[in-house]
Symmetry: C2
Subunit: 352 residues, 2 copies
Amino acid sequence: MATESTAPVHRKTTLSDIAAGCGVSRATVSLVLRGSPLVNKLTRAKVEKELLRQNYVYNRAAANLRRRSSSSIALILNDLANPFFAEFASGVDEKLGEAGYVTLLGSTGESIGREQAVLRSLIEHGPAGIILSPAEGSDVTHVLAAVGAQTPLLLFNRELGGNAPKVAHWDRLMLDNQRGARLATEHLITLGHRHIAFFGGHRDSSSCRERFAGYTEAMRAAGLRIKPHWRIECAPNRVDAVVQCPALFAHSPAPTAAVCYNDAVALGLMLGLCQRGMQPGHDFALTGFDNIAEAALGVPPLTTLAVAPRERGRQAAELILQRLHEPLSASRYIITPVQLVVRASSCTLPTT
Amino acid sequence: MATESTAPVHRKTTLSDIAAGCGVSRATVSLVLRGSPLVNKLTRAKVEKELLRQNYVYNRAAANLRRRSSSSIALILNDLANPFFAEFASGVDEKLGEAGYVTLLGSTGESIGREQAVLRSLIEHGPAGIILSPAEGSDVTHVLAAVGAQTPLLLFNRELGGNAPKVAHWDRLMLDNQRGARLATEHLITLGHRHIAFFGGHRDSSSCRERFAGYTEAMRAAGLRIKPHWRIECAPNRVDAVVQCPALFAHSPAPTAAVCYNDAVALGLMLGLCQRGMQPGHDFALTGFDNIAEAALGVPPLTTLAVAPRERGRQAAELILQRLHEPLSASRYIITPVQLVVRASSCTLPTT
DNA sequence: TCTGCTGATTGGAACGATCCAAATGTAACC
DNA sequence: GGTTACATTTGGATCGTTCCAATCAGCAGA
């Protein structure tokens, strides 16, 4: 009795403590916590007072165990340090938080090995669902082996490789890469360019393939032949783009414009051009993809495709929540449109 | 017996399923899972085979409940979309993953209200520890009320306001803001500048106060008087920096250089200067803070202070893990050094 | 045969919540 | 008074794991 009024020693206060503290049963306290209409006003008040007095904190893990439910969603990203994904994550967390879920984070750094490890670790915490932007080269079999078929999964941004395409009932949220790249290419063509390169990205990434397809499509539609040396591969970051810039001008005829894999690459290419004494947006036209924050503020500002990553994050969260709500409805495949944002980096053909 | 060999219907397979499946007790299976040396080689093999066959997944929540332990750490950030924090988070997650912990993410978007909500929600999941980069204006009392005194907490990047400074035994990991700003200022002075402004940030943020103090210190040490109109406040992002640029030149004598609150602000200021027909790094010198990726690749490249956010993330994770290991050791207060990176944006005084 | 000992194994009670069927109290009705 | 109805409350089993003390088999030594 004497030591009961304050926290016992160090143990967290539990339902039983509250129950004992105000002379009701555990069950009643539980009902109060969940706002059940069954409990009497007076008892509710009494219990709530005691909850405050002992400053009780709810143990969601215990509750989830009994209810065989979960209140977390795993978010696994191939590159959290990339502003595009950071903003996406921010949107996901925002939306999940509103719905009372908590985000379990995992970053794989584009490593398939880490992806396996992260998936295996996160699944043990029993998330209600998974949002996965897979590492490059990740395939269906591995992911399925790691997470099983029970947990709903939403694939974002990239398709999975492997020859078991429709084995799982997973939802997919993708960007309209092909259409985006086509728009950019058409835009450059309209400005008078005929020698247009596709710069950056890895051939085996699905998003890069799609963007390249869009570029090809536009070129073909305009009756333009694509030279093999106009296709330059590089890692999707600034540094490698700078390094690969000279390759663009190694053979003749050199391109007068480039559709870049993404903004990071485009910004890198701009720097590379400057180093060659060229002036991007004047001597050479280029476009990006993603519309990251610095695209608008570069010199010159970058023409690019807006994908609204935070919005996509919110959308992804919404999709997975819907899936939890109706686990049996048909799997969804959503391709979100992208929007061409024209800025100064895409100039007309310089009059030589 | 007939339906037992495959997964029953939809229920997850548990310890008991495995135990029943190979004729041992639950306790033994549990020992196998945890790699105890007590179990016989043969039984271990038998059990492991069964684990694979039923592709069992460990229920960490249940285990944690019984063991009264936790395998997650909460990471709460004031702005995940900011590349600095994204990279920090990436480092945290990396290190925690290595140690077998999982990251519970929460982003507050600089809102004290959301910070409260996020803290209250995350604490219910019983994290072993908390890493918190508080929202602007957040104070000790509120945080303490939300998380209690039980869970170890590491404060990153910002101090908490409020007049209960040492009430808690929380650890702190801060950047050496003051020294950094002093280094930048001294550097500009060495280059011949005498009229140096301090540009950006909010007066009431602790990091801004510290950086301003460093600037003042260097100016004073060099015997230079600071004009009031050389202190321009703005939100710590590009957009607002562009808007506030003209204020720098509203009064005479105008500054010839500026120490900026951070890189985002510096990049914005650069743009603002361009719009006035000035050439940053030639007509006007400036420095940033953070050394974000685009600092190196801007035009001109930005002189700034490197803080290695990913490294800081790993360090933060390490600190909180150490704290879990020895809960009673004295609380730590670590100020990590920052490093001046000189690039082209800090030019000598233009000869008029 | 009995005792002691070591190495393996095990049953049952926890952990902190929820679920469910059953019990309680009170008012209303015939 | 007895019966029914309704509004509240409650004990005990349960979720999937771990802990602990107890058990068991096998073998050596007396």
